[in-house]
């Protein structure tokens, strides 16, 4: 894979050109991937913006030490000003502080749910790809079944049914966090599972795996050192997109009033509170919406750049 140069040209004429080594080509696969990623200007810009977003959310409480729930009716529904850069809501609470807090939740949920999805996906895919036969058939049937489940209704149903009991064990905020992460991750592992399984099936027969097997490598060792690293590229791409999808899913839940408890500001719940004041306080809707959009689109662009870099054969 590292040896191929993408040449957009009819095959006949490309053959001699592709055979010729390129000048100044980085030698490591990582270097090659970085070279391709850098080529995608929107992805690079997105990476910078997303990093800035992470920094704001992480350091924000220190730079902007305004409490998220300080009620001040004298300053309610105000537009942006020096005292409140993003304005205030109907209780006069500072929106910047609330959005920074919400951003921590949204980004954390996105990352954690992605990790859950990737771990479950790798496990299911690896077991399926290794076992073959009946186990494989059953697991793939389950995967297809999950792919045809109505995602949002189930998300809603699960949070609706389990909200109270989880809350009693882990507290209102922690409980909601764990529940939402597990549920979102638990409903999004299918693509990773399919990718990993496909890699297993195609790589199992390849020479270097055969060679390793002939040399007496044990099965877990084979999986860890030879097969998984090869499946890594597509999985990283899918995982990146999963972060964006999880952020949207969490915001949707909060927006519908079935996510985090209503006193905890998340991007989705701020939007939910704001939607009845669209006509008099549009800033209240625009800022959280823009925050979600910015996070999601930068992650999607990074995913696109990573696809160019790590998985060049796939167009989509």
């Amino acid at each position: 894979m590292a040896g191929s140069t993408p040449v957009s040209l009819s095959a006949d004429a490309a053959a001699p050109a592709a055979a010729q080594p390129r000048k100044s080509r980085p030698t490591t696969p990582a270097g090659e991937a970085w070279r391709r990623f850098r080529h995608h200007r929107l992805a690079v810009a997105s990476a910078v913006i997303l990093l800035a977003l992470f920094a704001i959310v992480a350091l924000g409480p220190f730079l902007w030490p305004v409490p998220i729930n300080e009620i001040d009716f004298s300053a309610k529904l105000q537009g942006p000003s020096w005292a409140h850069p993003l304005g205030t809501d109907d209780l006069g609470q500072d929106l910047l502080a609330r959005l920074i807090y919400g951003g921590r939740i949204s980004l954390a949920v996105g990352l954690a749910a992605m990790i859950v999805a990737v771990v479950v996906g790798i496990l299911v895919g690896a077991i399926s790809g290794m076992a073959s036969g009946r186990v494989d058939a059953v697991l793939m049937w389950v995967t297809d079944l999950f792919l045809s489940l109505p995602l949002l209704p189930l998300l809603l149903l699960l949070t609706y049914l389990f909200r109270d009991s989880v809350k009693s064990v882990l507290g209102p905020e922690g409980g909601a966090f764990v529940l939402i992460v597990v549920v979102i991750g638990g409903l999004r592992w299918m693509q990773v599972a399919r990718l990993v399984r496909a890699q297993f099936l195609s790589l199992r027969e390849k020479e270097f795996v055969e060679a390793a097997r002939a040399l007496g490598a044990s099965k877990p060792r084979l999986v860890l050192h030879h097969i998984l690293p090869n499946a890594l590229g597509p999985v990283i791409v899918a995982g990146t997109i999963d972060v964006a999808a999880a952020i949207i899913a969490e915001s949707t839940l909060s927006f519908l009033g079935l996510g985090f408890p209503s006193d905890i500001p998340t991007w989705g719940s701020v939007l939910r509170d704001a939607k009845d004041y669209l006509d008099i306080a549009p800033h209240w809707v625009l800022f959280p919406g823009a925050a979600i959009f910015l996070a999601v689109i930068t992650i999607n662009f990074i995913g696109d750049g990573l696809r160019d870099a790590l998985d060049p054969r796939r167009v989509l």
Partner: protein, 320 residues
């Protein structure tokens, strides 16, 4: 396409429906406490109704018996009673379903009408200005969550421009031509929000699929016939490119239904999506279960339609 193929597809849909019902039931069975607990504290529910309900759902039976019981009741159309709306769940859903289907159906048509020409045009001029603009808009389109686009639409078209109503009304007091116009006007925003979101991801599918097909040998053969570039694209590229797109659209259906729930909620469209949310907020468990199951059935149904389309587009499939 053979009738055999359609029948086979129908038969394959049955186990997935059963599987989905099993998943739903498992969730319900695993849910902590008694799912009818709320009913006990609800003064509107007479004790004998509660007892009958417990008996019907056989809450003291073993799990598998409860599942069989539940699935037979569902199959017989006995979907329970909504204590919040004070009517049978199936009647309630049948009242709401057509609106949802119309909104989803028209938004899909919008999505296809936008995405097909844009995607094909972008793919025939790869890396041109048009392609780059289309691609950027597609990215923006599917990165904007539907609840935010919905609010933006209201802000622009209802509040700023005052063109369209932002609350969906079922009781329009107009007749004839005016009646339909009012209905169309209030449906425009929900349909557009959903259609553009779906269309944005569709553009990328169509584009990449056309790019894959356009370099195949049979397209060169078609060009060598002298039938003209336009016909080469419409006849020999688009139809073949649509085959993988159909599968991807089917895979997207669960997301589309999610979008429909949100859109209905924002514009207060009286469909089954907004019914689901209000039922959850009111702890109306029979309605919640039934609506979730209906959504699952709709996904399976749309997959079935996709399979049949697939067989029609690709003669190789139907012969298998």
């Amino acid at each position: 396409m053979s009738r055999q193929y359609i029948i086979r597809r129908l038969l394959i849909a049955i186990p997935s429906l059963l599987g989905i019902s099993l998943v739903l039931f498992t969730i319900l069975a695993l849910a902590p406490g008694d799912p009818f607990e709320e009913l006990a504290t609800n003064p509107a529910v007479p004790p004998e109704v509660r007892a009958a309900l417990r008996a019907k759902f056989g809450l003291d039976d073993p799990v598998w018996a409860r599942y069989l019981h539940w699935i037979t009741a569902m199959l017989q159309g006995d979907w329970g009673f909504s204590f919040v709306s004070r009517m049978d769940v199936d009647t309630l859903i049948l009242q709401r379903l057509p609106v949802t289907l119309i909104v989803i159906g028209s938004s899909q048509i919008i999505a296809i009408l936008v995405a097909l020409p844009v995607g094909v045009l972008a793919a025939t001029r790869p890396y041109s200005l048009f392609d780059q603009v289309a691609n950027t808009f597609a990215f923006i389109g599917f990165s904007l969550p539907t609840f935010f686009t919905g609010l933006l639409f209201i802000l622009v078209f209802s509040i700023q421009l005052d063109w369209l109503p932002f609350v969906y009304r079922a009781d329009i007091d107009a007749t004839g031509w005016q009646f339909y116009w009012e209905h169309i006007k209030q449906a425009i925003m929900p349909v557009m929000v959903l259609g553009l979101f779906q269309g944005a991801s569709l553009v990328r599918y169509v584009r990449s699929s056309v790019l894959d097909v356009i370099k195949l040998d049979y397209v060169t053969t078609a060009r060598s016939k002298g039938i003209g570039e336009r016909k080469v694209i419409t006849k020999h590229v688009v139809r073949n490119a649509l085959i993988p797109v159909v599968t991807l659209v089917a895979l997207q259906m669960p997301i589309v239904f999610g979008g429909a729930i949100v859109t209905e909620q924002i514009f207060r469209v009286p469909g089954i999506g907004s019914l689901l949310i209000s039922a959850m907020l009111a702890n109306d468990t029979p309605v919640v279960m039934a609506v979730t199951f209906v959504f699952a059935c709709l996904v399976v149904l749309f997959n079935l339609i996709a399979d049949i389309l697939y067989g029609w587009l690709d003669p190789r499939i139907a012969f298998r």
